[in-house]
Amino acid sequence: MSLRLRLVATLGITLALLWGGTAAWSMRDLSTQLEHSLDQRLAQSARMVAGLMDRVPAELWRREAGNMSTIPALEGVACRVSSLRGQVVAGTHPEMNDVLKSDREGYRDREHKGQRWRVYTLVDDDKRITVADRLRERTALLEQVRRAAFYPFLLASVGSLVALWWGVARGLSPLTRLQRRLVSRADGDLSALPMRGLPAEIRPLIDGFNTLLLRTRRVLDMEQRFTDDAAHELRTPLTAIRTHLQVSQRVEGEQRRYALQQAEAGVARLSKTLDQLLLLARMESEAALQDAPQQADFHAALDMAMAESGCRDYCRIDADANLRHVAISDSMLTTVLRNLLENARHHGEPEASIDIHAWASSNGVVIELANRGETIPPERLARLTERFQRGHHARGSGLGLSIVDAITHRAGGSLALESGDGVGLLVRLRLPLA
């Protein structure tokens, strides 16, 4: 249900009920008041006749008794004066005996020839005065009064409904404009909606919407970057392989051997990138990495990692002896350390040593790995754990630190990077103890 319809319906029905109720109430009041004042006038006219009769000497009309004088009648009004014994002295409408014949004082309704009359009888000393109003005249009068009151009321109520419709439409026009703007946007348009000219009630809504748009834009950008990066990382070695293979078919001897060797190296690089990508994908899909409580021996894992990365000769280790209960699986810790060692070798000064420092702290184990090298500017440092972010060196898949980051976080640890003062990159891992 549209907001406009809801508003108009709610306000309209309320207004109509209020107006209607008021009208019904005042109409009822009006009828009662009118009846009442007409009754009073009836009674007054009876008293007036009684007053007039009092001025006439009693003997005079008593003499006349039984010798009724008929007064010419007015339409719709009747009157009769009679003695207490019931002798009619004077009156109109002799044929309306059944209506005007009355003993007791007070009002009553009578019917005569299909027409209703309002009758009032006044008993005054020795005479009885009865006056009657035809009800048809009263009804006609009431009808006229009602009609006179009804038209302004109708005009006012219709007018207020129209005003209501217009007012609601006007009040909601910023929403309508907003809707039109949203509908006319291009499909892929993720730019923020302008906040200018929006009423205060909608602002928070649009503000929230814009924040969501911004976040969506960022996510899409990141996805796009990832796709581009992945395409680049996978297609570059593939290009090298294909080109060198094609060259190898057209040359001989040493050149051919070189081309095949290059193709081989390309295959190795491609398969390494693929392995890393698959590892990363697996890690991100395995929500519960540590179903069973796991623990790894830091020294064993480091040993393995140094062997796999072939950089044992460069490592300078300074570690607590008792680090046998790191809460992570052996293979994961080895992967983490191997990636870090390979990074340190690739990006550091060629023959410089890699410093490895590990100790148990109050809330887990801290492992620091540092190489010597150029300082990395802070803005690049912050993006290093993003997938496919590499140093200036073309070697490596650009996935190493992403994998370290993913594993560390899954294991409930944290990763910090520093650079400067001759240190190319210092990686500080915090991992919980089992």
Partner: protein
């Protein structure tokens, strides 16, 4: 034909260089936008093969900069991004052609040759000069319909002269088209190649313009003896 290859991946660059050398292209490799800019300022390349993703930025940005500066050298862009939008972006950015990695070596060669052909406003794949015909793709030369055997550098020299269409080329320009930056060149190498060409095609085929350089002689009648 001398080509500048801007590609930061060593192995890919080596592969392309080796592949293009098979079709007698002389390839200079640079690995950054900066170096590409420097190389293009010094040497008059016949074409540039430009990778988009380089350590110091997007190759397309450099290309746009070149085009704004009025550099008309044909440029073929290499990229790993195969989305239609990025191809359009590349072509609108001033690229003459666009290849998505991994590409076929023959396709790269053919496209480069097409670019060179277009650059001199030539529709036919073969170069012709009087009775002389050179097929750049097949690397063959015929004179009056008879095949002529030329060694690699002689063929490259002849191709350069034919593409110049009678314009005078200096000795340095000719050497540039024959040798890369890293090639060792003997001082009289060019003279030797000119001599050999004259011996095989006829003395009048190549004119020496004293103090300026060399050009192909205006063809007369049915060609040369």
């Amino acid at each position: 034909m001398r080509v500048l290859l801007v590609e930061d991946d060593e192995s890919v660059a080596a592969g392309i260089e080796a592949g293009l050398a098979l079709s007698d292209f002389v390839v200079d490799i640079v690995t950054s936008l900066d170096a590409a800019n420097g190389a293009l300022a010094v040497i008059d390349y016949d074409a540039v093969v430009l990778d988009r993703r380089l350590p110091d930025g997007d190759g397309l940005a450099l290309l746009q900069q070149w085009r704004r500066a009025g550099v008309a050298t044909p440029v073929l862009i290499l990229t790993a991004r195969d989305a239609v939008a990025s191809r359009v972006e590349g072509l609108q950015g001033g690229a003459d052609d666009y290849l998505v990695k991994p590409f076929d070596l023959d396709e790269l060669t053919a496209r480069l040759q097409a670019l060179l052909r277009r650059a001199v406003g030539q529709a036919d794949a073969s170069l012709r000069h009087g009775a002389l015909t050179l097929d750049p793709a097949a690397r063959s030369v015929t004179l009056n319909g008879q095949p002529v055997t030329l060694v690699r550098r002689e063929l490259m020299l002849l191709e350069t002269l034919m593409r110049a269409r009678g314009r005078i080329l200096s000795a340095d320009q000719l050497k540039d088209s024959l040798y890369g930056i890293d090639d060792e060149v003997e001082s009289n190498a060019l003279n030797v190649h000119i001599y050999q060409l004259r011996r095989k095609l006829g003395r009048e085929m190549i004119e020496t313009v004293r103090g300026v350089g060399y050009r192909l002689a205006t063809p007369s009648g049915n060609g040369t003896s």
